[in-house]
Amino acid sequence: MIMLEILSGFLLAIGVFFGLTGAIGLFRFPDFFTRVHSASVTDSMAAVCILAGLLLQSDFGLTAVKLLFILLFLLVTSPTASHALAKAARHGGLLSIPEHKHSVKGQD
């Protein structure tokens, strides 16, 4: 039982750590496409870790099923949303940093 507690605490800590790094990356990365990368990848990891940590604390009944459902749902939708957003940005004409430099050079 105590093993489960420790494992759960470990997973929760990792999850919060990933979430924090992702949020900091939202500010520190240079252009939108790197930012979307930092946010979405850590997002999935944080969701998996935190929900798994909570799962170990639940009594493996209906609560566990709901947690698994949330986990599945987030795992499917969150990368899809990030992908679609990046694609929309691309279609909207947003450039990454190297491309931007290139296009500025081309204009000179």
């Binding site: 749902f73 499917v76 939708t77 899809t80 679609a84 694609k87 279609h91």
Partner: protein
């Protein structure tokens, strides 16, 4: 601990509201409004109002945001700069706010169990309703049974809002509405629309994922509808969630495809049907010798009668809310197609 979480959430809420004042980009305003709704729902959870949080998350954050985006697509995206004097509104607001804060000092302290609000009918609801109505969720008991007449009124208000939106905008089924507003069941018009609006065609991944998710959403809506007696949920929330599934479909695959799944004609019948089902249960109670919406008479055992009555009226509420939300969404989105060409 709970107070700290509450305070932080309320602080974020206040910051969001304040930021809305200074933003001129209306799209950003609507995005922040979505965050605002999510935050207030989180506050409702931390204040123990799980049913309210459920409703706010689905209705407030979901439907309102979608409708506001639809309105923005039809109007303007930027607020224009004006030369309005801003000190006069500020003065009014500061005066009123000062008076209100002075007024709150007479309020009983927050969360004190001896507050007068907890001493009138609430103890009866909390202590008796599990025996009288037989449901663990007291909010559902009060909503559907003790205050059933009130809820009937709310359902009628929601119904009349749909009537209002439909009479103001109407659902357009063709691209060129030469012959006036909402035409009668016109199959060629629907075909027109599905060709002209392919939905998010460029987003292949999204289309696949949406197909995967929509059945799950509908299943969840049914769960919320019928599990609302035991946990958070009920007709209002389930109706919105079911509508959200079809809204997702119409957003991804185009409004024309949406019309083919749930046609506006079906919705036109479903909207009053829910209200009539609700009122019909009331009339049935009268016919069986009780009073209006007194479910005790519906079965030989009063608690069973209550259960039957609540299931029936929750279903009525769910159907009406579903149809109203989808109707309103159709009304806004079918306008958008026209402007977008």
């Amino acid at each position: 601990m709970a107070e700290l979480i509450d305070l932080v959430l309320l602080g974020m809420l206040a910051a969001t509201a304040l930021r809305v004042i200074f933003l001129r980009d209306l799209f950003a305003v609507v995005m922040l409004f979505g965050i605002y709704s999510f935050l207030s729902a989180a506050i409702f959870v931390s204040l123990d109002a799980v049913d309210v949080a459920f409703t706010e998350a689905s209705v407030g954050a979901g439907i309102s945001t979608v409708l506001m985006l639809g309105t923005l697509a039809l109007t303007e995206r930027k607020e224009k700069v004006t030369q309005h004097k801003s000190w006069l509104p500020l003065l009014v607001v500061i005066t009123t706010g000062g008076a209100l804060i002075y007024g709150t000092l007479d309020m009983p302290p927050f969360a004190n169990p001896d507050n007068p609000v907890h001493h009138h009918v609430a103890p009866r609801y909390i202590e008796q309703s599990p025996q009288e109505v037989g449901l663990p969720n007291m909010v559902t008991s009060v909503l559907a049974s003790y205050r059933g007449f009130d809820t009937l009124g709310e359902t009628v208000v929601v119904f009349s809002a749909a009537v209002g939106v439909l009479s103001l905008l109407g659902i357009r089924r063709r691209r060129e509405p030469a012959s006036g507003l909402a035409s009668e069941s016109d199959n060629t018009g629907q075909a027109d629309l599905s060709e002209s609006d392919p939905g998010l065609r460029a987003h292949e991944v999204l289309r696949v994922i949406a197909k995967l998710i929509i059945p799950l959403i509908l299943l969840f809506a049914l769960y919320v509808q019928f599990h609302g007696d035991f946990g958070p949920g009920g007709g209002f929330q389930a109706g919105v969630i079911a509508a959200a599934a079809f809204i997702l479909y119409a957003l991804v695959f185009g409004i024309g495809s949406g019309f083919q799944v749930v046609s506006p004609n079906v919705l036109r019948w479903l909207t009053p049907f829910g209200v009539l089902l609700y009122a019909g249960v009331g009339v049935l109670c009268m016919l069986m010798g009780g009073q209006f919406l007194d479910y005790n008479v519906l079965a030989s055992d009063p608690v069973h009668g209550q259960h039957y009555g609540i299931i029936a009226i929750e279903l009525g509420v769910g159907i009406t809310v579903f149809a109203v939300m989808l109707n309103i969404f159709y009304a806004f989105t079918s306008q958008t197609e026209r402007v977008g060409q």
